[in-house]
């Protein structure tokens, strides 16, 4: 899990162009949106693309997104359970 979390943090930094931020700067349990990294709605869409592109996960129920993208930890947990690649 630790390895997946680190990998995910690196992918988030690259996909969202978070310049000057390293994986160590991202608190695994901190909120990704509004507080924490302060991501916005376009970032949320990029994270959905990231999940599909890198892990083969298609999010078909938008209602679940809020819970999945709560933090890096919740994302990693979901990926571990549902990844197809």
């Amino acid at each position: 899990m630790e390895e997946l979390i680190l990998e995910l943090k690196k992918q988030i930094i690259e996909a969202l162009n978070l310049e000057d931020i390293t994986p160590d700067d991202i608190d695994t349990n901190a909120p990704l949106f509004v507080e924490g990294l302060g991501l916005d709605s376009i970032d949320a869409l990029e994270l959905i693309v990231l999940m599909e592109k890198n892990y083969g996960i298609k999010l078909e129920d938008p209602g679940k997104s809020k819970e999945i993208f709560k933090s890096v930890a919740t994302m990693a947990e979901y990926i571990q359970k549902h990844r197809t690649k």
Binding site: L16, N17, E19, I42, L45, E46, V49, K53
Partner: protein, 203 residues
């Protein structure tokens, strides 16, 4: 008489602010990484910059320098300023980036790239950053044309309450940057006369 009270010129090789070449230590790379070097030089502290497309970055940086030189207070909502830019390649630079994400063999359309596939987004980025509430417009011309730009910048002053217009040429394509951003003010005692001759000279 309207006056050009500040201007900034950014090309692949230099940055000029009000006639003075800025002493920025560029690495060998041009294009996007050069824009990031200018951003770091300015120490703008605006993380959203890194999410912008190159056209918006170029327009943002030139606007930032012009407004700073005028001690513009970006905390106060400003209904007396308009933003009017023009270029010849529209958002083609970002359009091409987006096209790369919709390759049938690797189809992952990027929302973050898509949102910049309109050239007028740069005017919105500048307005948001600086709390500019006046009208924003973007014109696409065949080439740099001071005469046409003079006409449509003049139009912007016809809107009620507009006393100055942040305006100019914001062109970026395939790693090449060609930008002239000016502040034109209606009632300023200082500055260059706002006419096609001076616009051409600054360019």
């Amino acid at each position: 008489m309207k006056k050009i009270t500040s201007y900034c010129r950014i090309t692949d090789h230099q940055v000029i602010l009000n006639g003075n070449k800025l002493n920025i230590a560029f690495s060998g790379d041009t294009g996007s990484s050069r824009l990031t070097e200018i951003y770091r030089y300015l120490d703008a502290g605006y993380a959203k910059f890194h999410k912008m497309d190159n056209l918006s970055k170029a327009g943002f940086l030139a606007s930032e320098m012009v407004l700073r030189s005028l001690d513009y207070d970006l905390e106060i909502p400003d209904g007396s300023t308009s933003v009017v830019f023009a270029n010849k390649s529209a958002s083609l630079d970002d359009d091409k980036r987006f096209q790369e994400t919709i390759n049938p063999n690797n189809y992952y359309p990027s929302p973050a790239v898509f949102v910049y596939t309109l050239p007028n987004i740069v005017t919105g980025e500048v307005a948001i950053r600086n709390k500019i509430l006046g009208e924003t417009s973007f014109f696409i011309l065949e080439d740099f044309d001071a005469k046409k730009m003079h006409i449509f910048i003049d139009w912007a002053f016809l809107s009620p309450g507009i006393s100055r217009v942040l305006c100019g040429w914001t062109e970026y394509l395939d790693g090449h940057c060609d930008v002239l951003v000016m502040m034109v003010e209606k009632d300023s005692p200082e500055g260059m006369d706002f006419n096609t001759l001076n616009i051409n000279q600054l360019y």
